[in-house]
Structure formats: C-alpha cells, structure tokens
Symmetry: C2
Subunit: 351 residues, 2 copies
C-alpha cells in the first residue's frame, strides 16, 4: 500500500529569492536541506543557504572559499578559467582544478521560523557560518536534536581536506558552541537520537568508503556526544531498487510504539534522490526492523524535478505533532519544501 504523503500547497516554502545574501554583490543559489525543530511553539528551521559571487566572467568557474588567515575570516572567490585543461567541471555543485575539488557555492545556516509551519520569517543574515579551517568550503545539511534541554546540531564541515561532520550545541538556535569534528572524512548525514539508549547517546551516520564498500549507514554510540565508537553497520544500498546507489540518514529519529522511526534518503544509479522510512529497534537503534520498499516521496513536483540539481528530494528534519509528521525537505538543491504524512500510515507501510 502506497502511503499518502501530502505536499504543502504553499511549496516551495522558501526560495533563494526570499533570502538576503550575506554580502553585497553575492547571490543566493540555494535554500534547502533544513534542519527542523519546535522551539517556543514555533517551527524553527536552520536552512542551508548556498551562495556565490554574482556571475561575473562567463569564461570562469569560481569557488568561494573561507580564508581563515584573515581576521576576521572572510570568504574570497577563487577563479579558474573554464578552458584551462586542468579544470574539470563535475556537475553544477563542484569542479576540480589540478585534481583538487572545489564547490561552486559556499553554504551557511540561516534561521527561519513559523507559527503554522508553512509561512516562514527568514533572518536577514547568517545564523551559523563557516568559521574554521575545516569549514572553508562551508557548513551544510544540519540536523537538530533536542536533548536534555538543549539543541544538538550536527552539520557537514567541508574543506579541501574532505567532508566531515561536526557537532555544535545551542540553547536558543542562535548562539552556538562548536564541539569539534565528530566524524573525520568522509562522513555526513549524521543524526543524533533525542535521548540516550542503554546509557549512551546514539547516532546514525553515513560513512563513505573508497577502496572497498560504498555508501552504507552506520550506527555508533557516545558517552558525551563528542566521542563516538562501537560502530556497526546499519544498512546498505539495495541493488535494483530506488536506493541502489547510495543511502544516508535524514531526519532525527523519533520514538514510536514500534521503535525509532526516521525519514532517510536513497538515490538510484541515476542520482535520483527519494525519501523513505526506516524503523529501528526501540532498545537498539543499531538494528533495522524495516525500511520502505518503495519511496515515500519521489521527485515529481516541478520544483523537485528541475532546479539547481533536479530530481532531488532530501530531508534533514521533520516535526512530529501527534500522528502528524511534517517532513521538511530540500527540493532540487534549491528550495525548502514541506509535506505531511500520518505516522500511523508510515508504520503500517513498514509492517
């Protein structure tokens, strides 16, 4: 039985045009992949805002890179001639020069809040920006877990040395304390569970292998949120399905009577990104009980099919209110969208 997932008629909820760039002369190219939580009765999103210098010379490709040697650190564009044989354009997101990969935009996190979960007021400046050497290519794809009275935010730190996951804590989603890199490259899509299990904190993460293996999801635990260990494989892509190419954690898992439920992403061999549901054991979130045979949400709406990177729906956060699960998601690496589904229906689809 297909689960009925209802897209918000207001979609896309947030578009690049609504967001003020951090610097004059820059343009916002993407507002997507928001972390989501409830805070003082409002839905609060930390939206990934990707921006770059407004298009200049069409014969150049430009990578905005944080220069941490300047005080304060500043983003400076690095330009390369497109016709330089050392330049290889990979896709709209990245290119390489002499083998070093660069991103065509740099992302920060921007707070947006809403009483109805559909109409958002967006901050006029960045909320959390790249600030360390490990973030010189930006900060991306936050997940927000509310744990013991504070918010624990995991986010991707990207630099020339790789794609890692960092952790920060905050009481108000405005002032953040950086707690360092919790997973060295290459690792992303990390979600921390909102409560301890078996005495330790718990997370799902997505390791990337190079020589053997590929894109598997793993589980790990921690005594203090900063140090992680006892890694065990959670699940792998499944050949011949919607998630044959890669998978990765999405929203922060939440408790249901049947176990920990979360929405994750899978992509097929053509990089079509869909969303599915994953149910893990309530006492051992490192054990899979069930996962979606078919996607819950596949890119079908126009704003999902075309955009900065078409055919992508990708979630970093959901909000649960009773039986109503609101999935906030990035569409086409360009827009923030929302959809709603019944938790009961999702659980039934996994039975």
């Amino acid at each position: 039985m297909a689960v009925r997932v209802t897209r918000f008629p207001e979609n896309p909820l947030i578009t690049p045009e609504q967001v003020t760039p951090s610097e004059p002369g820059w343009q916002v190219v993407g507002t997507f992949n928001p972390g989501a939580t409830l805070h003082h009765g409002e839905v609060v999103l930390l939206v990934r805002v990707a921006e770059r210098p407004r298009a200049g010379n069409p014969e150049e490709v430009v990578a905005p890179v944080l220069d941490v040697t300047s005080d304060p650190p500043r983003v400076r564009p690095r330009s390369f001639r497109r016709d330089d044989p050392e330049v290889v354009v990979i896709d709209p997101r990245w290119f390489s020069y002499q083998g070093q990969v660069y991103l065509t935009s740099i992302s920060h996190l921007r707070l947006a809040r809403s009483r109805d979960g559909r109409h958002f007021t967006i901050d006029t400046g960045p909320t959390f920006s790249a600030g360390t050497w490990y973030e010189s290519f930006g900060v991306e794809d936050p997940r927000i877990a509310e744990i013991e009275g504070r918010y624990v935010v995991t986010y991707t730190s990207v630099s020339e040395h790789g794609i890692a996951t960092s952790l920060a804590t905050t009481k108000d989603l405005r002032a953040f304390e950086r707690r360092g890199i919790i997973f060295a490259p290459e690792n992303r899509d990390v979600s921390v569970l909102p409560e301890k299990v078996g005495g330790n904190y718990f997370c799902h993460h997505r390791a990337v292998a190079r020589h053997i293996g590929g894109f598997d999801m793993w589980a790990a635990d921690s005594p203090d949120l900063v140090h992680w260990g006892r890694h065990r494989r959670l699940m792998s892509p499944r050949a011949g399905t919607w998630e044959a190419g890669r998978i990765g954690g999405g929203s922060v898992p939440f408790r249901t009577p049947r176990g920990w439920l979360t929405i994750y992403h899978g992509a097929d061999q053509s990089n079509r990104y869909c969303l599915g549901a994953l149910l893990c054991d309530g006492d051992d979130p490192g054990r899979v009980i069930a996962r979606s045979a078919e996607p819950l949400l596949a890119p079908e709406a126009p704003y999902e099919v075309s955009g900065f990177l078409g055919n992508v729906v990708f979630t970093c956060g959901t909000v649960v209110q009773g039986d109503e699960l609101t999935i906030y998601y990035g569409a086409a690496d360009q827009y923030v969208c929302g959809a709603v589904v019944s938790v009961e229906d999702v659980l039934e689809s996994l039975a």
Copy 2:
C-alpha cells in the same frame, strides 16, 4: 644529513616459508607488517600472516572469505573465472567482481617472540583471527600500545563493507577482548599513544576521502579508548616528494625530550612505500613539529624491491631501548624485516 639506518643482516627475519598455514591445503603468501612490543623481556611481534588456498585452477581467481553464518565461523574460498568480463584484477592483492572488491588472501595475526630481537620463534597457529562479520576479509596491520599495564591493539578489520579499524585489549598478547570498531570505513593505520595527554587517550589515524580530499593523517582523543572524537587533521601528503601519494601512521609514538616521535609511511605517485619520522608536540600530539624531508628507509634491499608487492617498506611497530630504535617492518608485503637507528640521530635529522 641522511640518517644512518642499519638493516639487520639477518633480514628477512620471518618469511612465509617459516609459518605453518592455519589449514591443511593452504599456503602462506605473506608474513609482514608486524605490531611490536616488549613483553617479559622479549620482543613480541604480532605478525600479519596472509594466506590462501594452495593454487588450484589457474583460470580462476579466489577470495578466501570468513563465513560467520557457520558455527564455528569458517573461511571458505570464493572462486571466479578470470575470463568472466565481470572480473577485474586490480593488483596482486585484490580483484573485483561485479564492482564488489575482494582480497586474494585473508590475514590473521600470529605471535612471534625473540630474546635478541632478530631470531624469532613463531607460534604454530593463529593468535588472533578474523572472527566477526566486519572481519570477513581478514584482520591486518596491528599496532600494540602498552597502556596502564595492558596492551591495546588496534588493527584493520576488512569486509565487503569496507576497511575499518577495531580495538582489542589483552594482558598477555594471547587472549584478546574485542572492543569493537573505533573508526568506521574508510580508516586504517591507527596508533594509540601509550599514555593519556591532557586527561584523554590520544591517537593518530588515517582517514580516506572519496569526493574531496585524499589520504590525510588525523588526530583524535578518547575518554575510554572505545569512543573517539575532536578529530583534527595532523598532516597531508606533500606534492613532489617521496610522500606525494599517501601517508599513514606507522608505529606507536613514543616520548622523547623533544616530543612524540613515530615512524610513519609515505608513498609516492608510483606506490613506492617509504618510511619517515614524525615529531609531534609533547603536550599536543595533534600538532606536527617536524617530519622527514627525505625517507629514513626506502625500498632498496632485494627483499624490499621484489616480492608479493615490490617496492614497499611499511611499519606497524618499533621497539625503543635507550637510544636504540628498532624498526620492525614489512618488506614487499611478504617478509618481516628489522632495522636499527639512533633516536638521537632521528631527532637531529628533524631539527
């Protein structure tokens, strides 16, 4: 000034011919990359022993894989026809079938001990073997740190889902307690320091990136040896040098008056593996003070230049006695060798 590193005239110290295979009908193809420590006045090595079924059908490639579903777990050979278009032979160590990488041998760890550090008595059976699903392709490249009265062994766990690093503890180097995977794929070359620094345990590890970055060494700390965090990049390969292609931790670092000293490996773009020295801050082993401009040891002896994988010297362990540093190393992925150098000379070369 070049440092004088003296190879033992007894080299190679251990060869595959001296080692009894774990099963009749098998052959040992490599004895190499030993972890090393002192124990009850003897030098004790945990030697990586790579073995495989004795060559059968020359038209086949064979991967020995641990079947954990049998009780007890058993290694079973998986055979593929060489002329199958889905089979791609990568090098003597591995091949792929339908995109899945397999190893041509499976490794276990074997204890060898010696009073003079040059003539070894080798156990007649495996000391520590693949035993979990994460080790179905074998256990490799152990590092032995003596910490607080016990030995902490980090080793590579290889399976179809990737190359990870696990940790085990032992009092006698014979009975081991597995403590799980401390670094998810892809990560290897992990050395734990023999004492806490700043209240926490400390290690060097080598992350492997896929989309951005490459083969960097990282540092991390831990409250309990099992959970690791606060990752920071230690150092990267250096273009145009002996270590342009990749680097990775080697022996367990030891304290000197000038800081933590360790022998690590670097490979150039042609995969010629050499050994160099790395000096890190005594109070912060995550900060590099100096590293070798030129290799301390490069593959030059016949047993280093040719063998299972020629042009490779690779260390997992050293023994320090006064000013004398004995480097045990794998040569050509086939032999255990030894060489000696003055700690003072190494430090001077880094000044």
